[in-house]
């Protein structure tokens, strides 16, 4: 009597799954050139923030140097950064 060979067990790559599930924050940085009204308009246009929320985030950028304007999976954060750079804002992403 023989037994069928057992398939090798492959350990799941926990780190990879963690990366996929990780939430990334999209950060907009202050610069001395872009107008407050323009930054607020961009945040409203791209993320659908209300006028008040967009202005609050814009003033946070202006006064504190940066603000988190959105978050989500890595691919979404990378696309958010693309759209913000397309509009001339300096955006970065972090976990």
């Amino acid at each position: 009597m023989t037994t069928s060979p057992r398939a090798p067990v492959i350990e799941p790559d926990v780190e990879d799954h963690t990366d996929l599930d990780e939430i990334w924050k999209v950060v907009v940085w202050n610069d001395p050139v872009n107008l407050v009204s323009y930054v607020a308009w961009v945040l409203r246009s791209l993320f659908g923030h209300s006028k008040e929320e967009a202005m609050k985030l814009t003033m946070q950028v202006h006064n504190e140097g940066r603000a988190i304007v959105n978050d989500g999976p890595r691919e979404q954060a990378e696309m958010d950064c693309y759209r913000l750079h397309q509009h001339g804002l300096w955006a970065t992403m972090e976990t």
Binding site: P32, L35, S37, S45, E78, Y82, H85, T92
Partner: protein, 149 residues
């Protein structure tokens, strides 16, 4: 300059000098990155990942070309808009967005080349540069106000 909201977009009316002034912008933007150590090129390619150089390189490798194409399309739209500026210009909302992006890029380029890094640097700018930045800002503000009305 006046900008009026219309049901299908905006109506712009600008003096001839302003049309001429704005018409020079695409030529200015075409010079970005054509000379060594251009601070404007650096400003337009700021890092997306601050603590991961490899990820940042990947991002720019994947997105950089598309970003450049998008900006080129905005500049073409900007040029076409101004080409029909004799008796006022009717533009769509999307064209207004393209104008805003081009005006923003222009201000960033001029400011970077003038060494403007912090608010206090405005005091060091020459009158001409300041006037140019302010004129561009005026056009931006007018567009944003009309879009929001």
């Amino acid at each position: 300059m006046t900008v009026e909201r219309r049901p299908d977009g905006l109506r712009l009316e600008m003096p001839d000098w302003m049309v001429g002034f704005l018409s020079d912008i695409p030529e200015l933007l075409a010079t970005v990155g054509t000379v060594d150590a251009d601070p404007a090129a650096d400003r337009l390619a700021v890092p997306v990942y601050l603590d991961d150089a490899e990820a940042n390189e990947d991002w720019w490798r994947w997105m950089g070309g598309e970003l450049a194409e998008s900006k080129a399309a905005d500049r073409s739209a900007f040029t076409e808009i101004l080409a029909g500026a004799e008796a006022g210009i009717d533009i769509s909302q999307l064209e207004a967005y393209a104008m805003l992006r081009v005006l923003t890029e222009t201000r960033l380029v001029i400011a970077a080349r003038a060494g403007l890094e912090i608010e206090a640097d405005y005091e060091t700018l020459d009158e001409h540069t300041l006037a140019v930045l302010n004129t561009l800002a005026l056009v931006q503000e007018s567009l944003i106000e009309a879009l929001g009305s």
